[in-house]
């Protein structure tokens, strides 16, 4: 009995070791992980990290270049850009989280329905996704946000509406692939119901590509969110959103380069982090790409 437990433990350890080994072989993924971990820390401890109030106006200190007092300089209303970027992390991550979660839930649900039941259900759901995917994402998101009225909630809603078809398609193709395996037939043969097969066999076998897609999409959602804010369709002033800050800064670009540059760098680093993590995960989970 004791050796049993030891066996199991050493098995677990072996698997963990192998996983760590794969991560170690992938230094770029570690960079991605560090960036994302850092962003999460910044989000949680924004109050402690920020040196100034991100919203309070201070006209005498307007458009100060980066110095020890204001790390990234100040904007045209005298607000500290560093503190605004720190608080902006919260908005950005919240936007990414919500959009991806909503798109994932709606998309996977419909994708599983389409793939599993096929026939007319499949036709209807897939033709709807075709309609959504026949527009450029950003244009459709813009139109929807304008129609709903510019605000952070509506920007999130619009992006979720634009994004779910990706997941519906991905999930459908995964279901079609898994459904052909004999273990699904066998499970049916043992008397399992449809819902049991979906929850017990199809979802556990399909989460890997979905997870990779989520991580890669996270970066893209952040970019689209910043783009919407840039044209004034995201969070409204004085909210410290990165895209909106770039837009505000472009009127002063000739004599205050720091105003647009630092929010831009923040966006770049964030997206880079998620893309590196996504690529790394894909390499780990797809043995064909392993070296």
């Amino acid at each position: 009995m004791l050796t049993d437990i030891e066996d199991k433990l050493s098995d677990r350890l072996k698997r963990l070791n192998y996983f760590l080994f794969l991560i170690r072989k992938n230094p770029l993924m570690i960079v991605g992980l560090v960036i994302i971990f850092g962003l999460i820390l910044v989000t949680v401890f924004a109050v402690q990290i920020a040196t100034y109030d991100p919203i309070k106006i201070n006209p005498p200190e307007r458009l100060k270049p980066p110095n020890l007092k204001y790390l990234f300089g100040t904007d045209d209303l005298g607000r500290d850009i560093f503190s605004r970027i720190v608080y902006g992390t919260r908005i950005t991550l919240r936007m990414g989280m919500t959009v991806i979660t909503a798109a994932l839930v709606i998309g996977s649900f419909l994708g599983v329905l389409a793939g599993f039941f096929g026939g007319i259900v499949d036709e209807i759901i897939m033709r709807i996704t075709d309609v959504f995917m026949s527009y450029p994402y950003l244009v459709l998101a813009m139109v929807l946000t304008v129609a709903l009225g510019p605000s952070i909630q509506n920007a999130i809603l619009a992006m979720a509406i634009v994004w779910w078809p990706t997941y519906a398609r991905l999930m459908r193709s995964e279901v079609l692939r898994i459904k052909e395996n004999y273990y699904v037939k066998a499970s049916q043969g043992f008397g399992a119901s449809d819902s049991f097969i979906i929850l017990g066999h199809i979802l556990p076998n399909s989460w890997v590509p979905v997870l990779v897609q989520c991580t890669l999409d996270f970066g893209r959602v952040i970019m689209y969110g910043a783009s919407l804010s840039f044209i004034g369709l995201g969070p409204q002033p004085p909210a410290p959103e990165w895209g909106a800050m770039i837009n505000a800064g472009r009127f002063f670009i000739e004599n205050a380069w720091w105003y647009s540059t630092f929010p831009g760098l923040a966006i770049m680093v964030t997206i880079l982090g998620f893309n590196l993590l996504g690529d790394g995960l894909r390499d780990i989970f797809d043995p064909r790409l392993r070296r």
Binding site: D4, D7, K8, D11, G118, G119, N181, Y182, Y183, K185, A186, S187, Q188, G189, F190, G191, A192, S193, F196, G200, H201, P204, N205
Partner: protein, 324 residues
């Protein structure tokens, strides 16, 4: 005539067609069969002759674009084709079960054997984890896999093909079904393991008093483990009789051809005899006997009408005009 309560399952004029883009494929075209309680019935045929489709129809697992066009499957006095999906789910796995061809792909790669065994217990029995585990371990012992506690924690890919098939058999027989359909259970295994698996199935069958429909293209496999057998050709049953008579006195030209193609140790021959031609296109069939184009002694009537399956001598059914 066999008393009707002795019959476990009866197929009457079963027709299963597949509606594809380039025409209707008549995969199974009007077959009749019976399986008695405790009996082992072999269904023999070439690839694509409708063996597996028949099995799937009995289980009620025919998928789009396949459709059971007509006929009935009477199982323990009830027509399975009239049952709802819910009712079928209660039958599947509990009173009727299936063993598939490729054991590796029958086990879900992301769960342990134990997880899947417990699952298949709990689909039909409202029991706790502990009790289900006890039953699962007992069943693994029944299929003669050593060290069941250890096996429960393993994944499918960590087992050998023979062990995988034993586990699949354990899962199929865990509720002691009345009928088990084995769809080429040994095709994916090497010859030494084949014999072991067939012996195991027979032992468990006798122990649980389970009837079996064994599907195979291998006459040797069927010879070892079946009491009676049906020869299927292009969706039609050509001959049904018990094992001894099939091998000693085959009547249908197709059966004769099959037996003639088996190499014999005592014979000194350069070449094996073969059946001329190949399987007909089931999307585009002539009205006559399915085997007519390949038959060596066909007459003009064979081209026009399909010969019915008729009883030539007690318990020996043949579909051929030559014998009536």
């Amino acid at each position: 005539m066999i008393p009707s309560d002795d019959l476990l399952i009866v197929g009457n004029d079963l027709k299963i067609y597949f509606y594809t883009y380039d025409g209707v494929a008549k995969a199974v075209d009007g077959i009749n069969f019976t399986v008695k309680r405790g009996e082992s019935f072999g269904l023999i045929g070439e690839t694509g002759c409708g063996k597996s489709v028949t099995a799937m129809a009995i289980m009620g697992l025919i998928d789009h674009p396949g459709k059971i066009v007509s006929g009935e499957i009477i199982y323990q006095g009830e027509n399975l084709l009239e049952k709802s999906e819910k009712e079928m789910q209660k039958i599947r796995g509990k009173s009727m079960s299936m063993i598939f061809q490729d054991p590796m792909s029958c086990l879900d790669p992301v769960f342990t054997i134990g997880h899947q065994m417990i699952e298949s217990v709990r689909i039909h029995q409202k029991v706790g984890e502990k009790e289900a585990m006890k039953q699962a371990i007992h069943m693994i012992e029944e299929v003669q896999v050593p060290d069941p506690h250890n096996i429960m924690g393993r994944y499918a890919h960590e087992l050998s093909g023979g062990m995988q098939q034993r586990i699949v058999i354990a899962m199929a027989l865990i509720h002691h079904p009345q009928l088990v359909i084995a769809d080429e259970p040994t095709t994916a295994l090497d010859v030494t393991i084949q014999a072991q698996i067939l012996r195991l199935i027979r032992e468990l069958r006798l122990k649980f008093n389970t009837s079996m429909i064994l599907i195979s293209h291998d006459l040797g496999v069927v010879h070892k483990s079946c009491d009676r057998m049906g020869i299927l050709y292009a969706g039609n049953l050509m001959e049904i009789c018990d094992k001894q008579r099939l091998f000693s006195n085959p009547l249908h030209p197709y059966t004769k051809g099959l037996l003639g193609a088996i190499p014999k140790i005592k014979e000194d021959r350069e070449k094996l005899s073969v059946i001329r031609g190949s399987l007909p296109d089931i999307k585009n069939l002539a009205p006559g006997c399915r085997f007519e184009p390949r038959c060596t002694n066909s007459v003009s009537r064979c081209k026009k009408e399909k010969p019915p399956l008729s009883e030539i001598e007690p318990g020996h059914w043949v579909a051929c005009y030559h014998l009536n």
